[in-house]
């Protein structure tokens, strides 16, 4: 999961500091993916707020309406784009919802939900 360069740096970190170092690297990775489309973390959180009304807080509630937290970003993005483009024949309401967001916003939302950590 890390590049050669990162591994080299990691090897130079004393063992007792490694946990914190991993956390820093991972933390940075999460922030940068949420911000990939130029949206701040808080901006994406506000956009994602609406999703919770049917998918539960942070999209974690599984039921008739599926949980969306921690599903792969590519899968979520492809599904959202299919809704937006009327390419999902089983759509009931998400086609109407997805059309309210730009493709960049949908990508940012997909990354946000994909990268939620376990709580």
């Amino acid at each position: 999961m890390f590049s050669k360069k990162t591994k080299k740096i990691l090897n130079s970190v004393p063992n007792h500091l490694k946990t914190g170092f991993y956390a820093l690297v991972l933390g940075g990775f999460l922030i940068s993916s949420a911000q990939a489309e130029g949206f701040s973390q808080r901006q994406v959180e506000v956009m994602a707020g609406s999703c919770a009304n049917c998918h539960g807080t942070e999209g974690r509630l599984a039921g008739v309406v599926p949980a969306i937290a921690k599903r792969p970003a590519g899968v979520l993005e492809a599904q959202l784009l299919a809704f937006k483009r009327d390419e999902e024949p089983r759509a009931t309401v998400m086609d109407r919802i997805a059309k309210g967001y730009t493709e960049e916003e949908l990508r940012a939302l997909a990354h946000y939900f994909a990268n939620l950590d376990n709580k």
Binding site: Q43, V46, T57, K99
Partner: protein, 436 residues
């Protein structure tokens, strides 16, 4: 939250400075200042969809902010799904929610009392317990109050005979008991108000689900809707579903067909319309004209319409600084007065409050809404909307939102009925942390 400490710290702050520098300190203690050493104190009035959500999301945004939620009821019954209770398809308990998770998981202080008055200048809320709370930011989510003076013959005493059941709980129980006791062959009359009012498709879902109950338990009874308007939410979908599912059991009379009720005789369960037609009901349900909950009036944030104008970016009241108002009480068109919209507005206000207490800039607001209505427990229809800010106005992006397809297959109606339940479970979890 230690309001005493806060007052003390302000006093000692004032004591420690000379008279010459008093003014700037006073203004620093005014509208936007937060007591030194704290992240701020937010008081939230109203524990429904808007208020409970705001309280939770302020804590999620910054746990160091002290949040006190004022809500008289220990169990909050939702208007959504109360029509299923009326139809005997659900228990009232199943739509009741408590405040345990807000307290235990999110650290919200919950006070079961009425908020009786707000002093927007002193930044205080007076409670029915006699105590006064000081706030840095106030959220009002008061829902609706009935306009008891707007419909002749319909006052609080009349509502005990001809319930509105537009605030769930005892009124829901009362209307359900009346429906059960009604003779087969009698008519259920629902008087629907002019716009705007809480839950635009609500009266028509209620008519549908009571027709469902009649079809099983009182096969000779009918439903008559007397309406003060000529158009209503999801009208085409409702009308064709009524035809399809209930035949002529449901009759709707609009404004131009003399549907506007102008006088109520609750004792006789009789109503009179604009042009003098009298209708006698077996059970009479009056959904009366409404306005913002009373505490909004007390805080001075309502306008002549009786509702609360807000800055749509933050949902801060136009008429008072540091008071944010969310939910049915607000003027937020094209967003409807729905629980979903109240929850969405609660999150936008929460983000704006966290940003203002932290001194950071507010992000762009986004909202959505989906209102499911049940024709019967297996037949659902919906209207959806996505909203954002353009030129400081709430708009729905072109091509987004709208109604369930009018020509949808049966599986779509069944799926939407299931998704309605999924929605109810999810929004309850998101708002109160309670689930079924």
């Amino acid at each position: 939250m230690s309001e005493e400490n806060k007052t003390l710290s302000r006093r000692s702050l004032l004591k420690g400075v000379g008279a010459a520098s008093l003014l700037p300190i006073l203004s620093a203690c005014g509208a936007t200042a937060v007591s030194k050493g704290t992240a701020g104190h937010v008081v939230v009035v109203g524990g429904g969809f808007g208020g409970a959500t705001a309280a939770k999301y302020i804590k999620r945004g910054n746990p160091a902010i002290a949040v006190t939620l004022i809500e008289p009821k220990k169990t909050f019954y939702t208007c959504p799904f109360s029509n299923l209770v009326l139809a005997g398809e659900r228990s009232l308990d199943s739509i009741g929610h408590n405040y345990q998770e807000l307290k235990e998981v999110y650290g919200v202080e919950v006070v079961h009392a009425y908020a009786e008055d707000v002093d927007p200048v002193a930044h205080t809320v007076r409670l029915s317990t006699g105590s006064t709370l000081k706030y840095d930011r106030l959220v009002l989510s008061p829902g609706i109050d009935i306009r008891w003076d707007a419909l002749e013959g319909y006052d609080q005493a009349a509502a005990e005979l001809a319930p509105h059941a537009w605030q769930a709980g005892e009124q829901t129980r009362l209307l359900r008991r009346q429906l059960e006791a009604m003779d087969d062959g009698d008519t259920f009359i629902l008087s629907a108000p002019a716009n705007p009012f809480r839950c635009p498709p609500g009266p028509y879902e209620r008519a549908s689900l009571i027709a469902h109950y009649f079809s099983q338990h009182k096969p000779r009874s009918k439903v008559l809707i007397l309406d003060s308007k000529d158009n209503f939410s999801k009208q085409g979908l409702f009308t064709s579903a009524w035809q399809e599912v209930y035949g002529d059991r449901i009759e709707w009379v609009g404004l131009s067909g003399d549907g506007k009720v102008v006088r109520v005789d609750a004792q006789k369960r009789e109503v009179e319309t604009e042009f003098g037609t009298r209708h006698k009901a077996g059970v009479l349900n009056v959904v009366p004209p409404q306005k913002a909950g009373k505490i909004a009036e007390r805080a001075g944030v309502t306008n002549s319409s009786g509702w609360v104008p807000v800055n749509p970016r933050t949902f801060e009241a136009e008429l008072a600084a540091d008071i944010y108002v969310v939910g049915d009480a607000t003027v937020a068109a094209p967003m409807p007065k729905s629980g979903f919209a109240a929850n969405a507005q609660g999150k936008v206000a929460a983000a704006a409050i966290v940003a203002s207490l932290e001194g950071t800039s507010t992000v762009d607001p986004h909202w959505a809404n989906t209102c499911y209505s049940l024709i019967n427990p297996d037949y659902g229809i919906s209207v959806a909307g996505v909203y954002r800010l353009e030129n400081n106005e709430i708009v729905s992006p072109q091509g987004s939102g709208g109604l369930s397809a009018s020509d949808a297959d049966g599986w779509v109606r069944r799926a939407e009925a299931e998704y309605a339940v999924g929605w109810y479970n999810a929004i309850s979890q998101d708002t109160w942390g309670t689930r079924l």
